[in-house]
Symmetry: C2
Subunit: 515 residues, 2 copies
């Protein structure tokens, strides 16, 4: 008999809402409406079915489909059992899906026939790992409903601890392969409790889960809505007409509707034929903004900050700083400590750039199945973000950019992104990268490789002079090469190719300490 | 080397504010003003001094004085070390203080000469336990300042885990002696993060710690202010003129000013000679309310709920229910589950009364030095509150009263407080208690012992009839005895004496399952 009186999992939150708000709406999806009591009972059946399939503490369940209320149901059922649930990226190739299947080695896999079925099936065929059960969730006959109906009538175990990893999200493909960040009930619920009032999320809130559920950014408001006892509403994918109809049907008060999804809503809502007036959160689009109201919550007025999947989203919040703050990314959440450190893990002074390291309630349990990477990234008890940041004199925070590798000029550390940002601020520069070339006196000297904008001109001397006023003297390029385009691997600059072409080398600690 | 990347203690929160808000006010006390950077450095010295005195993980530090910023400083320093800090009730007798000293067996004790010195010294003399160091904190020569100045220059350990018990508060004197509830960093910080936005507490907040710091009620807003980066301001005790002057000096935005403290402020502020206009939170006193502003935060509009020291204050919040709710105590916090159970720990249906049991993030680590009591109170993984409550049909919650003991009528459970509340609702009843007398058929029958109000009259029949419409028939008294006064031990009715006088007995499971 456990005596863990401090335990709180996602399943416990749902069980409590079933007592406190039994008849209020918890879940909406198409024609489906579940009250908190309905949802709690379904979670109970779902946990019993997973348990019967062999899912126990520490096991994994994989979702290879698009958005559905079943994602929420399976996640909460896994929380109850102490298992992990991974909603994988359904935009991946068959080979990428096969990697996830083999890496995660799930006990149960849910697939989807509609739209992604062929790729998912090919991925499963490519993988070596064989799950105990594969459920094609949208099969009208043998799918999710039938699977749930077969669940045994016995009560499912309640073995999920607060610190148990429950949400697995693949991210951080530093070494060319992604790693699954393991987020605990503790991290998820703490972030949700923190953000709900800042987002103006209360029991009457209805959040449209319109972005893909393999992103923590979509889950942040989902979890805030969950803890507040509001309703989470789902659409399978970001189809404009489907979004509009769902907002109208459920009177959604907010939604993850950004970028091209705004355009899709505008295209679908010609003549304002759907009633979107329940929504809050204008998006800077003239049509869209006539249909929706203003979000005057603190987050609505000052959204964003610096965050990572590995910390259940935000580590710093813009809303924690005034408009006249020096830093561009607010201040850290009260749930974490954020330090900026040099390569020897010593905290640097305000005004200096270093790697961002973090510890606290919202930090992940580590990456699944990556003991060596975890030891490296969690060294000294701090999660090393692989990102660069800076505290300003007023205590506010600036996220500088991803930490790729470091250059050395005598004793001084130089991060390429700092120099590149200075170069890019010149109007004639379209793109820029910085490498270190061996230097007998200074260890390395800084070389810039620059793409000049069409119809623009800039000399090496002019660009070096431009940098002089913007960054410390030792950081400015000593030499500049001009190219038509930078070599890239995917979106990332291929620094190895630049080194090979332009004589880079002598990097401190090899090329980088990250993996 | 620890890899606890999830760690967050009170000391970590202070260290983070020293980065994010270095120059902003953290502490005010008399002429003393400490910025977050100042405060963090003092905590560092304080932790080094405690460590040098032998305080390590799991050890205790006792404060036998009135309010002071040093309470906050020692508490945070203990959090850093992983030790526990107890601010004891300075209104206690010497014998009561001696009990606390022996029970807590602290490594370091802080005493106060002013006002309480004689009693504290007598208590220490009575106790068997001898602390390693006793520091008379307000001694101008050999006191706290001198003690801190002697701290070694070495860095103090940072060994405080999130789950470490850091605040010890004596409460729950069920068995005639008080028990120290051990509250962890986790419980304190989660409650503070939850409550800060509800209380409208932000970085500009300045909270006057005017109530005694041996009560969790005073600490709730203190901790909310701490996590938000606001300032905690201290007065030694609730002296009216001192309160007014401190509010004016520090422009306090709120304060623990309740009951007779409001009258003391009114008496001290004749002619409105102090500027109290920074304060928010009217108190229903005509003069007071002309000086202070309205608190329009959710908590200000709907304060309170049901809580306990053992759960870092509130378990339910009135602000989570509408005005037309059936229940009188809102809904549970998202940080806990609250169940209402029968004596066999089975959850009862809405509308039924049972014992309130709770589990979740804000629940204490148990009582210090009470293994048997802890096993009993935490049975099945739920903290048993010894209080009675009820869920209503709309999911809202009602706190009924303390669970003293239970009566039995055939298979039905009867809690005396239910019957006593029904009796007290009769205008002629000044006081009432209910006992069970052995009954061959029904196990027990209900007997009421009633004190009639001065100049009032009521017959036994009339009172029984009064109860009939208010509680279930099996709960109403079968017999009524009239007395001039109820026997009491302290504030509590002496049920044992009533049983002896009026033939009580046959209680299920002895008299009570609580200790």
């Amino acid at each position: 008999m456990t005596t863990d009186t401090a335990r709180l999992s996602l399943a416990d939150v749902v069980a409590q809402h079933a007592r406190s708000r039994p008849g209020e709406l918890a879940i909406g999806d198409g024609d489906l409406r579940l009250s908190w009591l309905d949802f709690d009972r379904r979670v109970e059946r779902c946990a019993a079915a997973l348990s019967a399939a062999g899912v126990s503490v520490g096991d994994r369940v994989l979702w290879l489909g698009q958005n559905s209320f079943r994602v929420q149901e399976l996640l909460v059922a896994c929380a109850r059992l102490g298992a992990g649930f991974c909603p994988a990226n359904w935009r991946q190739s068959a080979a990428e899906i096969a990697f996830v299947v083999d890496d995660l080695s799930p006990t149960v896999v849910f697939t989807q026939e509609q739209e992604v079925g062929d790729t998912v099936d090919a991925g499963l065929a490519l993988a070596d790992h064989r799950a105990a059960i594969i459920v094609p969730h949208d099969d009208p006959d043998g799918g999710y409903g039938a699977w749930l109906a077969r669940a045994p009538a016995t009560e499912a175990p309640r073995t999920g601890a607060s610190d148990a990893a429950v949400l697995f999200v693949y991210t951080a493909a530093f070494g060319g392969r992604p790693n699954a960040a393991m987020l605990s009930n503790r991290a998820i619920l703490a972030q949700a409790v923190l953000m709900a009032p800042w987002m103006g999320v209360h029991a009457g809130h209805r959040y449209l889960n319109a972005g893909p559920l393999f992103h923590v950014g979509v889950f942040m408001e989902n979890f805030a809505t969950l803890v507040a006892g509001g309703a989470n509403v789902f659409v399978r994918r970001s189809d404009g007409e489907d979004l509009c109809r769902t907002v109208e049907t459920f009177r959604c008060t907010s939604g993850y509707i950004v970028g091209p999804m705004v355009d899709a809503v505008v295209a679908a809502n010609t003549g304002g034929r759907f009633d979107l007036s329940s929504l809050r959160g204008k998006r800077g689009h003239p049509d869209y903004d006539t249909w929706v109201g203003v979000d005057d919550s603190p987050w609505g007025r000052s959204p964003g900050g610096y965050g990572q999947t590995e910390t259940m989203g935000m580590q710093t919040f813009n809303l924690l700083a005034d408009r006249d703050a020096i830093g561009t990314h607010g201040r850290p959440s009260p749930l974490v400590q954020v330090r900026v450190v040099d390569p020897d893990d010593r905290e640097v002074a305000a005004g200096e750039i270093g790697e961002i390291v973090v510890r606290g309630t919202t930090v992940m349990n580590g990456y699944w199945n990556r003991p060596e990477l975890n030891a490296e990234r969690a060294r000294g008890g701090w999660h090393h973000t692989n990102d660069l940041g800076r505290y300003e004199a007023d205590g506010t925070f600036t996220f500088v950019g991803p930490r790729t590798r470091m250059l050395k000029s005598a004793a001084e550390n130089i991060y390429p992104i700092e120099v590149e940002n200075a170069l890019r601020s010149h109007p004639a520069v379209a793109d820029a990268a910085v490498i270190g070339v061996p230097d007998d006196t200074w260890v390395q000297s800084v070389k810039a490789i620059v793409v000049v904008a069409a119809d623009a001109h800039a000399s090496a001397e002019e660009l070096i002079e431009h940098c002089r006023g913007r960054i410390a003297g030792y950081k400015k390029p000593r030499t500049v090469e001009f190219v038509d385009a930078l070599p890239r691997v995917g979106f990332a600059v291929d620094y190895d190719a630049l080194d090979a072409t332009f004589g880079g080398g002598n990097y401190p600690g090899g090329t980088t300490r990250s993996t």
